[in-house]
Symmetry: C2
Subunit: 196 residues, 2 copies
DNA sequence: CGTCTATTTGAATGTACTCAAAAGCGGTGG
DNA sequence: CCACCGCTTTTGAGTACATTCAAATAGACG
């Protein structure tokens, strides 16, 4: 495996609470996957065969609706997790697409190894259950607030949460995430810049 | 306790998988709460002291944003669960409001009893973890799809999922749920009815 | 430099919004 | 039984903002 991101090891040590030996043991179960810019990690219809940690790079997760329109659900950069948990846990087809926007390095824990790890390290299982719950609560909050917010507010929110994105990816992806057209985002930015 | 909804008992029997004795034991831990139309079950800032099952009636859960605008998150009718799990599990203040739109009867499992039940009946614990996960996945899917959908699609979706609502509550609540103004919903309905 | 892609700008259109007022509906009390 | 009241829904007119389509400009990269 490639050199894991420092925060990956820190998570295992501090948040999960594993000993150095346990970490070495666990690390042995992970494999590295490189995904080149523009390539897909998975597509709708695939079944997710592993949980994935973004070691570096950037992945966009999106969905395509009945009318063929795509909408970005989230961006995963360094130290994020990417995948479709439902597809992974139940080994059923996903409805999402995951595409690299930069050359990306993923750390994968395959399905079998995931279950072995959960058995062997109860702390890892707890960590995982906890992560699901936290994601749930965060998602609920984001959803509730985003419903009342204007595109402008959502834009400013994203600027706060993931400022690095604007330096690395074309902004029509940002527009797709915000649920507006690239032209609208362009005009929105001009308005915010205060040039009438 | 009042007569529980038949589907409540069925859930305990079939989904949770408890024996008749266990059910009797568990039922003893629940208490009934009546909430009159227009009254609040909880408000932002409160800490949820119980998990709540809607035995009959209807509750709207909503949020008020920075600009003081309210937005309905969901409607809970018979055989739904209502509350803020995050607030309940971590005993911290909620950001939501829950108000009865009809005289409503709730079945409550208070915080202490909830934990006793989880210890005494491992199956109940499993049931609960499962419920959280399923809610999470359902929420994600709803969110992803709602982002691309027009108000019209969301309206038709609600018609399919909770048709009874339209017979019981004022439609400006539906509008708030859809994220549009009452006037817009009125016009939307006229368009759908096909009267130019 | 030339090509491809991304961003910006313009003009016309559409849809939801605000504000205002009218019409519909349900319940209460005379 | 009817008149009145409060609340809900509908309708109208004008406004704001995102969309579409089209074209011009700017950037990135071989």
């Amino acid at each position: 495996m490639v050199q894991p991101h420092p925060r990956f090891l820190e998570t295992l040590r501090v948040t999960v609470g594993l000993s150095e030996e346990e970490i070495q043991d666990l690390l042995g179960m992970w494999v590295t996957l490189s995904v080149k810019k523009k390539e897909h990690f998975f597509r709708a219809g695939d079944t997710c065969k592993a949980t994935a940690y973004v070691n570096n790079g950037c992945i966009r997760r999106y969905i395509i609706n009945d009318q063929g329109k795509e909408s970005i659900v989230n961006f995963a950069t360094e130290d994020w997790w990417i995948g479709d948990l439902e597809s992974f846990l139940f080994q059923k087809p996903t409805i999402y697409y995951a595409q690299a926007l930069e050359d990306t390095e993923l750390l994968l824990l395959p399905f079998r190894e995931f279950h072995i790890a959960q058995e062997r390290f109860p702390k890892y299982k707890e960590f995982h259950v906890d992560k699901v719950q936290k994601s749930y609560f965060a998602t609920l909050k984001r959803m509730s607030l985003s419903k009342t917010g204007s595109p402008e507010e959502k834009y400013l929110q994203l600027c706060k949460e993931q400022p690095s994105l604007f330096q690395r990816i074309p902004q029509h992806y940002i527009a797709s995430y915000l649920g507006i057209e690239p032209e609208s985002l362009s005009r929105l930015r001009r308005r915010l810049a205060g040039k009438p």
